[in-house]
């Protein structure tokens, strides 16, 4: 208990040291910090954090961030900022408490952007924490692609929050590539509010980080469609935790979710997929799949696909599998003259390809394919 108090005191000190911001931002910060202090850091006694121990993360906060002057926040962002991601999530609250430089992207009504919008967040200095905040506002009937990349070096803590507002009939593809350093901590929340008849897709690729926790939450309006995909490849003692929550708040919406993981070494993967179908969300069609491929004997997997259904005229399915490479498939390839090692790599590659193929940005797909190739080609037998 004293440790918790000590930590909170530390964060309070950091909080009060922040340079002052505009009054409305300051109000947001204060509310968020109050919520954070009330909750504290989650422990494994919290259902949502049962398998992820954030104790090492909480220790990275010694130094404050440089106090450069933030860019002005555009007027149209004001009604949206911090209105979607829930402060019940302690790390969202923490991020909001340290709201500083917000990247706001607005895509006007009806605009079609061919080139992807790329946002790159470099990890902060050794032993410090950063709270990147992104707000993406996509107007009605607009189309755009957003690529968020996280990378860095050393031991640090990235606590990101991205809020996306997809207006009616807009089409948004969101990609998040997490390539943090292998000793970094990465906790991120993506909160999407999806308008009527809009289509939203999210692809979350987790490769780096000592400890990664991703929350992807989407709230669907009438007739909208969500595609939530994820790929995590971990080795060594890496820990990756993916939580998704798809909230079918309105009728006639569809959602498809596919998360795939490849685990090696003593890595630990957690998946928790929640589908909530509200009482009036009739005609919902929802599908969720989590597949895990395990390459070592010491990897650990905890998966919990969850359905909460309050409407009757729905079709919802979920499935989860955990398994090793199919020995018959290996045999098949070997019997056709492909060496054991190559056959193995081929199968791993094919497993991941399912997600890679869903990426529509050519350059991104190419670079990911390269990364995968390097990762598995050099993989020792």
């Amino acid at each position: 208990m004293t440790a918790v108090a000590e930590q909170n005191a530390q964060w309070l000190e950091l909080f009060t040291q922040q340079p002052a911001a505009e009054p409305w931002i300051q109000a947001l910060r204060e509310e968020a910090f109050a919520r954070f202090s009330a909750q504290g850091f989650p422990t494994t006694h919290h259902e949502e954090w049962r398998f992820t121990n954030v104790a090492p993360v909480t220790k990275v906060a010694r130094a404050a961030r440089p106090a450069d002057k933030p860019a002005a926040i555009p007027e149209q962002a004001k009604p949206h900022l911090a209105k979607y991601a829930s402060l019940d999530h302690p790390f969202v609250a923490l991020n909001t408490a340290f709201l500083h430089d917000v990247r706001v992207i607005t895509v006007p009504r009806g605009a079609t952007l061919e080139a992807p919008i790329e946002i790159t967040y470099e990890g902060p200095a050794e032993g410090t924490a950063a709270h990147p905040r992104t707000l993406i506002l996509v107007g009605a009937n607009a189309q755009c692609t957003i690529v968020e990349t996280y990378k860095g070096e050393g031991t640090y803590f990235t606590n990101a929050v991205t809020e996306i507002v997809v207006a009616d009939s807009a089409v948004v593809d969101h990609y998040k590539i997490q390539q943090e350093s292998l000793s970094a901590y990465h906790i991120a929340t993506l909160q999407a509010a999806i308008g009527r008849s809009a289509a939203f897709s999210s692809h979350s690729i987790s490769l780096g980080g000592a400890l990664t926790r991703n929350d992807v939450n989407a709230v669907l309006s009438e007739g909208s469609d969500a595609n939530i995909n994820g790929l995590y490849i971990v080795n060594g003692t890496q820990h990756v935790d993916n939580h998704t929550a798809i909230d079918h708040a309105k009728p006639h919406a569809t959602s498809h979710e596919l998360y795939k993981g490849i685990l090696d070494g003593q890595s630990h993967a957690v998946f928790n997929g929640k589908i909530i179908v509200r009482q009036d969300a009739q005609k919902t069609d929802s599908k969720q799949t989590n597949k895990n491929l395990v390459l070592s004997d010491d990897a650990v997997i905890d998966t919990k696909p969850e359905l909460q259904i309050w409407a009757d005229d729905v079709r919802c399915t979920h499935g989860a599998t955990i398994g090793q490479l199919d020995s018959e498939m290996l045999f098949y390839l070997q019997s056709r003259g492909i060496g054991r090692k190559d056959a193995r790599n081929l199968l791993i590659y094919a497993f991941a390809q399912d997600i890679v193929d869903r990426i529509k940005v050519q350059s991104l797909r190419d670079s990911l394919e390269r990364t995968l190739f390097e990762k598995f080609h050099e993989h020792p037998e």
């Binding site: 070592s296 359905l307 259904i309 009757d312 005229d313 599998t321 090793q324």
Partner: protein, 482 residues
């Protein structure tokens, strides 16, 4: 659509047929729970010192425990001091030695319930141990079973006659401190069934227990302990009913199964406690802890349950798969209608090598019913080559009910193969249309589809029970089909 909704509704609104009260004098102790009550229960049962100590230990532990709140059910707080913890039918003789001595009133009750004990003595059928309120009333076929060395008797009798077996296995699967309701049960349990099948014996008939809560404001806390020694086989059935009352009654039972090398236990339940009326008033709170341990190699425990009754069900029959190659199975149909709530599922804990488990769960929600499947599959580090397959399907009838699935898969050994599948849907209008087109009425069509949906589980039930379960399902669903 509206036509079919109506049919479903008439189908689902059939009334509870087992809601009568038997006018029988009961020997009940005062309300409330304290150490004296436990001593009194223990004294009434003439129990040895060690058992009383065990009860008291459980009680002291219970005092420190908190009622669990994680289940997806809501109910007003239970006043544990307002429950009568022991009620026994008063009979002329204290313990009936044979059926002839049993109060005829009581036998009539069982006849009404459809278990004519006398008749069954003649038919080579099911051996029944009937538990009425807190005590076991009669056990049939005892002699016949005895000839094979099988012990099948009430729990209190087992305590008197086979204390060494009881002492060895009691609390070995579900420890007294396991959870809130198990601890409460361990402190106040009044009776139950005990069964021991010796080495290499295949029990020649289905064993069965019938539980009935009759007295008002009582709680029923029974304990079942089944031990199958090396190479033994036993199939055990359990059924339950209760009178209709508008207050809620608590039923907190504990079932422990132990299977040694090559042994097999098949445990089937048809649970039909009073579910409360149409407005959700009354009904039984069924908070039960059931767990089986596959201790030996090649052992197998199979749970089959049909849950149609109870206002609230909180029940997770589990298997501890310790022995190599042991097998755990769980087949379940849970139906919630009107205002019933069920949070049920299973836990399969794989400890030994090459252990296998299968979970098939079918949930049906109608009216305002809330049906939750909560299942855990744990593959421990030692369980090399473990295999699990889980399937849980939910059927929704009506737009005010809910179906929820919370499966937990925790894998610590990666040679394991774990699969989980779940689906939720309603009966398609096209399916109904197809049947109607062929001259099948909506009601029949729905009942056909529901039975088809549950078939996988019913197939696992022993014959007599399968028929009963189907009937029960029909009755419980009456008026809700649409």
């Amino acid at each position: 659509m509206s036509d079919s909704t109506q049919t479903i509704e008439t189908f689902a609104n059939q009334e509870y047929k087992w809601g009568f009260v038997t006018d029988i004098e009961a020997d009940a102790i005062p309300r409330g729970l304290n150490e004296d009550v436990i001593r009194l229960i223990s004294a009434k049962k003439n129990e040895p010192e060690w058992l009383l100590d065990w009860r008291l230990k459980a009680y002291r532990h219970w005092l420190d425990m908190e009622e669990p709140s994680w289940a997806n059910v809501t109910y007003p707080p239970i006043d544990y001091q307002n429950i009568i913890y022991y009620a026994a039918p008063k009979t002329k003789t204290d313990a009936p030695k044979s059926l002839e001595e049993v109060d005829p009133e009581l036998l009539k009750t069982y006849e009404k319930l459809g278990i004519p004990l006398k008749e069954q003595e003649m038919l080579a059928g099911v051996a029944v141990d009937a538990v009425f309120d807190s005590v076991s009333v009669a056990t049939t076929f005892k002699e016949k079973l005895k000839a094979q060395g099988i012990i099948f008797c009430s729990f209190s009798e087992a305590v008197q006659e086979h204390p060494e077996l009881v002492k060895k296995y009691l609390g070995s699967v579900v420890p007294a401190s396991d959870n809130f309701f198990a601890a409460l049960n361990s402190a106040v349990f009044s009776d139950g069934s005990f069964c021991y099948v010796p080495k290499g014996v295949r029990c020649p008939m289905e064993l069965s227990t019938y539980f009935r809560i009759n007295a008002k404001d009582t709680g029923q806390f029974e304990r079942t302990l089944i031990v199958a020694d090396e190479g033994a086989y036993v199939s055990y059935l359990e059924g339950c009913t209760a009178p209709m009352r508008d207050t809620n009654q608590l039923h907190a039972a504990v079932v422990e199964l132990v299977a040694l090398d090559h042994a097999q236990i098949k445990y089937s339940t048809v649970q039909n406690w009073y579910p409360g009326d149409k407005d959700g008033k009354g009904g039984i709170y069924n908070f039960v802890t059931k767990r089986g341990a596959c201790r030996g190699v090649n052992s197998k425990i199979s749970w089959t349950q049909v849950e149609t009754g109870s206002a609230i069900t909180w029940k997770y029959p589990s298997c501890l798969l310790i022995g190599e190659n042991s097998v755990g199975e769980f087949y379940s149909v849970a139906l919630t209608n009107n205002w019933q709530q069920a949070d049920t599922g299973t836990k399969m804990i794989h400890i030994g090598k090459n252990t296998t488990s299968t979970i098939v769960s079918k949930g049906i929600s109608a009216g305002h019913g809330q049906n939750t499947y909560r299942g855990g599959v744990k593959i421990l580090k030692s369980a090399t080559g473990a295999r699990n397959y889980s399937q849980c399907d939910s059927l929704l009838l009506g737009d005010k009910c809910g179906a929820h699935t919370f499966p937990y898969l925790e894998v610590r050994n990666t040679s394991a193969q774990v699969e989980h599948e779940a689906s939720t849907s309603k009966i398609g209008e096209d399916q109904i249309f197809y049947c109607r087109q062929r001259g099948i009425s909506t009601e029949d069509a729905v009942s056909m589809i529901v039975h088809g949906f549950c078939k996988e589980v019913f197939r696992e039930l022993p014959m007599e029970f399968a028929v009963e379960a189907q009937k029960l399902l029909g009755v419980s669903l009456e008026g809700s089909v649409g």
